[in-house]
């Protein structure tokens, strides 16, 4: 097939589907309803490291997980979620929360939207272990 047909077809197809999904409201990120849901999300990624406690942030967009092997975070990946242990992270305080930079090519940057008190508490707990 000539590129002059294939290329526009692919570009228009990909962009069209993406715009359509967005307009249909399918870009809403996952929110954890409660701490149990956040724990379940952690357990799904790290069944071998049990969560001792989960602290959900105010809007349910992330949770800080306490384990025997140090802290971890669960956060939304689109409509789903993922999780990482937080060690060797560079932590930066921003006006609306924290940015964690991990030496992990598959999760280089985690942006956490937290209110003021949460930011202080999470930063404290993450830095204690660092």
């Amino acid at each position: 097939m000539p590129l002059s047909i294939l290329l526009p077809m692919v570009v228009i197809g990909v962009a069209g589907i993406a715009v359509l999904l967005h307009v249909m409201g399918l870009s809403q990120p996952r929110r954890f309803a409660d701490a149990d849901e956040a724990r379940a999300a952690w357990d799904r990624e790290f069944p071998e490291i049990p969560a001792n406690a989960a602290t959900l942030c105010h809007d349910g967009s992330a949770a800080l997980i306490a384990t025997d092997e140090g802290p971890g975070v669960v956060w939304p990946m689109g409509a789903d979620s993922t999780a990482r242990r937080i060690d060797h992270a560079r932590i930066e305080r921003t006006t609306d929360g924290l940015i964690l930079r991990l030496p992990d090519f598959t999760a280089p940057r985690i942006r956490l939207r937290l209110d003021g008190d949460e930011t202080t508490e999470w930063l404290d707990r993450l830095e204690q272990s660092a």
């Binding site: 097939m1 077809m9 197809g13 359509l20 071998e48 990946m77 689109g78 789903d80």
Partner: protein, 309 residues
């Protein structure tokens, strides 16, 4: 004469059909409120991976093609182009697909390329298009060598491979439950391939089939979808990024980091490149048998059920 035969580049011609089918599946899901899920960034990443796969085929396809032409020069055999030969080629190429796909899950070097097909936590028709950009570097084209040496023309072999990929498109859906019994028995179906995309301990390293599920039954890798255990799609360790470049290259980088660690023996370095995914020199990571054993320790009731036999 048969050196000049050409077959259409079927995968490219299927693009409009892919787009139409995605729109139909999406409409079905929205109207029926069941049968799957779509999310914008996930779907966009899958589609970009698909487009990049076509681009890498255009840019690097000449390497495999050149290799096949050399083999074609070498072989004294020529089976011709009759319909029966094409059919036989399709079946044997599907056997080739089974083994390449099995290597893709059991050899980290090949997994580095194939992992991205499994990196979505969704399972819809866009997931089918989430294809590798780095397939050429796995050198899995050597698995096709016997076919060409047997006298199947390289263009025919690629044509059959293209049809194989197109067949696999429609099975990436949750909108279809089970097909008729006879079809499930012989063919790869949405149900069988959902199992293949499951990260559940039960479903790891199962159902490698392309078109015919009989290969998995023959070689002992078949696990039927269980009514009581829905596949949880994605990777054992799910990605924390939608960036297509990271999706495409992360496992290659991870191999590089492991292989170049200080203080390892040559054997360890080779292990990090070619042993099954999850292998580590100190046993600190888990491969499929360990993941299954961990699961059974927590869920002994699953012992001797499908996927844990």
């Amino acid at each position: 004469m048969s050196d000049q035969i050409t077959y259409p580049d079927v995968v490219n011609f299927a693009v409009p059909f892919f787009i139409a089918a995605i729109l139909i599946e999406l409409t079905w899901i929205v109207l029926k409120r069941r049968g799957g899920r779509y999310e914008t960034r996930d779907a966009l990443t899958s589609l970009i991976m698909g487009a990049g796969n076509v681009a890498s085929g255009i840019a690097l396809g000449f390497i495999a093609w050149g290799f096949f032409l050399v083999l074609w020069e070498l072989t004294p055999l020529d089976l011709g182009t009759s319909a029966w030969v094409v059919l036989l080629c399709f079946v044997l190429d599907d056997l080739r697909y089974y083994w390449v796909h099995r290597f893709g899950h059991r050899i980290r070097w090949v997994w580095a390329s194939h992992v991205n097909h499994h990196s979505s936590q969704h399972y819809n028709l866009t997931t089918a298009l989430r294809q590798t950009w780095t397939g050429t570097f796995t050198f899995m084209m050597v698995v096709r060598a016997p076919l060409i040496l047997l006298g199947f023309h390289p263009a025919m072999v690629l044509f059959c491979g293209g049809l194989n990929l197109i067949y696999q498109f429609w099975i990436h859906t949750e909108a279809i439950g089970k097909t008729p019994r006879w079809f499930e028995a012989v063919m790869n179906t949405p149900s069988h391939h959902r199992v293949h995309h499951g990260r559940n301990a039960r479903y790891l390293d199962a159902n490698y089939a392309g078109v015919f599920i009989v290969w998995d039954k023959l070689f002992g890798t078949f696990v039927p979808e269980q009514e009581h255990e829905k596949p949880d799609y994605g990777l054992v360790h799910n990605l924390g990024t939608f960036n297509p470049l990271r999706v495409a290259f992360h496992e290659w980088l991870s191999i590089f980091r492991d292989v170049t660690r200080p203080g390892l023996s040559l054997r360890d370095r080779l292990g990090y490149a070619f042993a099954p995914p999850g292998w580590s020199h100190d046993g600190s990571r888990g491969m499929t048998p360990e993941i299954k054993a961990c699961h059974l320790a927590r869920h002994p009731e699953d012992r001797d059920t499908p996927g844990f036999e």
